[in-house]
Amino acid sequence: MSVIIILLIASISIAALFLGAFLWGVKTGQFEDDFSPSSRILFEDKPSSTKTV
């Protein structure tokens, strides 16, 4: 039944991946402003890309 160990590792790492994605999303403020991104996608030409700082 060592296959269970592999499954276990797989499931936990996928869950960890999602946890990482969630933490990243919170950190970059994706849950803060729910209005601008949805409207921004409708603008035809994008605002100029941010140049290197």
């Binding site: 499931s11 946890l19 933490l23 919170v26 803060e32 729910d34 601008s36 605002p47 890309s49």
Partner: protein, 798 residues
């Protein structure tokens, strides 16, 4: 696309949608209400940004207030720049502006295309919820001042206040959300890996069971050390103040559950209660986040600094120099331009002051001051430019002095008031007694069962159900109130509101509306034709009194005036039908001053003085009904900064049992609240202006009234939209229900606890029972709290 929006044959401005007086202001077949709107259209058209208009119909903001040339001169000052800029290097500068005018997706489009209007701008990114734009620009090509001017020219004037000078806005604390994520991750996986333990596993696979237990152990560690941190911190803080709050028994339960489970895994005797422990932490963090969800776009902390400008022009040797407010000294001469705020108490030395104190007192009509009179800080000059001599420093003025009082010194405050802590304390004592009794019992009968029995009691009897019912009920009630435009600062405000026994109203701006006035004509009869001419004449002026008068008479016509003239601070005149019309102050119209009480506009037609329009406060429509309802359950008071003119009206409105006080200074209001509290009352203060700030702060619950929630409100426990004031009795009822719901769900949770304790005292609490009991009790409490609070809100029609 049609050039103009035509409804009811009225012409509306292409930019801002306001009705136009005539169709004279045109550009490319499009009609505008004023030159300002036309200018913005011109700017956008030139930069090919007219998509702006296709995203929303008439997205613009009224441009009638012209912005003065040197308004942003202070942004050239290096010291001020340093305070405002968030980051800069040799080439680039990052700055975040607060732009309160932002309101739709067109605004977003325009602001993010700022680089097309000002080539020096590299990028701009809007945060719509916070109404902020983070702008990056090149130092070589443009300056902070020019960026601010560009923004202003398209109608988004950055709001820069003295508050920005003090400190940077604190970043939103997201750590609890991270902690929730980690707890959820651990909880889910531990549940999954606990199944073999609960469902039984083949004897030949015993090795696997060990692996699962150790994996659970490993996953529980970050929950213990990281996710549960808020509970440790809060209980530590409360213990330092020799106070037992609800977090202390919870933290204890978390730690004991972990130790017991770890011991079971290490000794190989069982799988422990890791799933229950992580689950508790997860649910309680979720509850706390629901309860603490704040309205980020609102500020409950505003004092005068977020309202005062960052700098004003000081006249030195005939030169205007922008100076930051803290540097203003008594003896300086300030130049206050039209629409600017008076930052310090002083004496008027030049010009005619026409000062709007609505932010301070709630009084919407401007007050006239002559040279030599004292002008107080907090007012806004509404006509022309004045000069004034500073008498007191900014922090020492009549208005701002209030903030130096002890009541306003921030203290580290731990919440010790809530009845939930009291409940949890009794609960903890009972549990401790029970644990001791159990330990003694097993000591004499079977000492080997002391340890499992006592730990099980602590695990099962943690007041997490009380905690959950409290946080989730509060969270739901807060969001119901928020939907009804009553925004609470925090959950404690709900409880304070439910306990109030005495309600104190401010008069001006709270009971009365700042938007409307009652206007009464006193004098000779005016025929409709003349009235119409007066309305048309008044409509030509931007003065608040003229505007109110034109609105009041209500008939719109664009009569041609052959010689229209406006004398700032005095009045207006014009000729129609061969007759000279004059509207304005008594001196201007009649030639001598008049001892009329209150605010009046005099009228002269030809050589004949016809009389005057008398302006008085207009009580909000919903107020009489509200007062009738409140009178039944509360003691009421009205505080007014004004004279006793309105006394008769107020007695009629409020009844004879209400205390009415006039001539109240900000400090008097504060002291009155203190006095009521000393008599044992729980005071709810409802006010709107800066002069109520002290009373709002001192009261048990201070509610600030705002015509619009993004307008200025003084610091308070709650902000209510003026129109919603009529629902106040229902709001109070909902807050009272809140407490009952919490108690009811607590009783339910005690039932669960008794079942659990039944197993626990015998030392036979198996992880399966704990695993079923914990989530099912939590979920049923969630349903009960959400369901009943929503039901009550619906019954109250909220």
């Amino acid at each position: 696309m049609s050039a103009t929006v035509l409804t009811d044959q009225e012409i509306h401005c292409y930019h801002c949608g306001e009705p136009c007086l005539n169709d004279k202001i045109r550009a490319e077949e499009k009609i505008f209400c004023c030159e300002g709107c036309k200018m913005v259209y011109g700017i956008l058209n030139q930069s090919e940004l007219c998509d702006y208009y296709s995203l929303n119909e008439n997205p613009g903001i009224n441009q009638r207030i012209r912005v003065r040339q040197d308004k942003f001169a202070f942004l050239d000052d290096a010291k001020i720049q340093e305070e405002l800029i968030s980051f800069q290097d040799d080439k680039q500068v990052h700055i975040t502006f607060y732009l309160p005018q932002m309101h739709c997706s067109s605004c977003l489009y325009l602001l993010e295309n700022l680089h097309r209007l000002n080539p020096g701008v590299v990028s701009s990114k809007v945060n719509f919820t916070r109404k902020e734009a983070e702008i990056v620009f090149l130092k070589e090509k443009t300056s902070l001042r020019r960026v601010a001017e560009t923004l202003t020219s398209i109608g988004y004037e950055p709001y820069i206040s003295l508050n920005d000078l003090k400190e940077k806005r604190p970043a939103i604390d997201k750590s609890m959300v991270y902690q929730l994520g980690v707890a959820g991750f651990a909880f889910g996986n531990i549940m999954l890996m606990s199944f073999p333990e609960y469902l039984g596993i083949d004897a030949s696979e015993r090795g696997l069971l060990e692996i699962f237990r150790w994996a659970n152990f490993a996953l529980a560690i970050p929950v213990l050390l990281y996710s549960a941190l808020p509970f440790y911190i809060s209980s530590w803080k409360s213990l330092k103040h020799k106070f037992l709050n609800i977090d202390a028994p919870i933290a204890l339960a978390i730690i004991i559950t972990f130790i017991r489970s770890a011991w079971e895994v290490l000794s190989g005797t069982g799988g422990g209660y890791f799933d229950s422990m992580t689950g508790i932490v997860f649910f309680m963090l979720a509850g706390r986040i629901v309860q603490d969800k704040t309205y980020r776009q609102l500020s409950f902390e505003r004092d005068y600094t977020s309202y005062f400008p960052i700098a004003v022009s000081v006249l030195k040797n005939g030169l205007e120099t922008p100076t930051t407010l803290p540097e203003i000294k008594p003896g300086d001469t300030l130049l206050i331009h039209n629409e600017e705020l008076i930052p310090a108490d002083g004496i008027l030395t030049r010009g005619k002051a026409f000062i709007d104190y609505s932010f301070v007192t709630g009084e919407s009509l401007p007050v006239q001051k002559e040279i030599g009179e004292i002008v107080y800080a907090g007012g806004k000059q509404t006509e022309g430019t004045i000069e004034m001599l500073v008498v007191k420093e900014v922090t020492q003025s009549y208005l701002t002095k209030l903030w130096n009082r002890d009541e306003f010194k921030e203290k580290e405050e731990i919440n010790t008031r809530s009845f939930v802590h009291l409940l949890s304390r009794y609960f903890t004592y009972i549990v401790l007694t029970l644990a001791t009794a159990t330990a003694i019992y097993w000591y004499f009968n079977d000492p080997s069962r002391i340890w499992p029995a006592v730990t099980a009691i602590f695990i099962i009897a943690c007041p997490c159900a009380l905690f959950l019912s409290n946080t989730f009920t509060n969270g739901n009630v807060l969001s119901i109130l928020g939907r009804n435009r009553l925004y609470m600062r925090n959950a404690q405000a709900i409880e304070d509101m439910a306990l109030a026994t005495h309600i104190v109203f401010d008069k001006t701006g709270t009971l009365t509306s700042t938007r409307e006035q009652d206007i009464r004509w006193e004098g000779l009869d005016l025929d409709p034709a003349r009235l119409e001419i007066i309305a048309a004449l008044a409509d030509q002026s931007n003065h608040p009194l003229s505007k109110a008068l034109a609105r009041h008479i209500g008939r719109k016509s664009s009569l041609p005036f052959t010689s229209f003239r406006e004398i700032p601070g005095q009045g207006i005149e014009g000729e129609a039908g061969n007759q000279q019309y004059r509207l304005g102050s008594a001196v201007f119209v009649t030639g001598h001053s008049h001892a009329a009480r209150g605010t009046s506009v005099f009228v002269r037609i030809g050589d004949q003085v016809y009389g005057h329009f008398h302006f008085s406060n207009h009580y909000r429509e919903s107020i009489p009904e509200l007062i009738r309802e409140l009178k039944k359950d509360f003691r009421l008071s009205v505080l007014s900064g004004d004279t006793a003119d309105e006394q008769d009206n107020l007695i009629r409105l409020m009844g004879r049992n209400t205390s009415l006080l006039f001539h109240q200074k900000p400090e008097d209001k504060l002291n009155y609240i203190k006095q009521l509290q000393a008599e044992g009352g729980k005071v709810m203060m409802i006010g709107d202006g800066l002069n109520d700030a002290g009373a709002l702060k001192q009261s048990d619950i201070g509610i600030a009234v705002a015509e619009q929630t993004n307008n200025f409100t003084p610091s308070s426990d709650a902000i209510i939209e003026a129109r919603q004031l009529s629902k106040l009795t229902r709001f109070i009822r909902l807050c009272k229900a809140n407490r009952n719901i919490i108690v009811a769900s607590f009783v339910l949770s005690i039932v669960y606890n008794v079942i659990g304790l039944f197993f626990a005292v015998q030392g036979t609490l198996s992880p399966v029972i704990a695993a079923i009991l914990m989530p099912s009790s939590s979920l049923s409490i969630l349903l009960l709290t959400f369901g009943s609070s929503s039901l009550i809100a619906r019954r109250l029609k909220l």
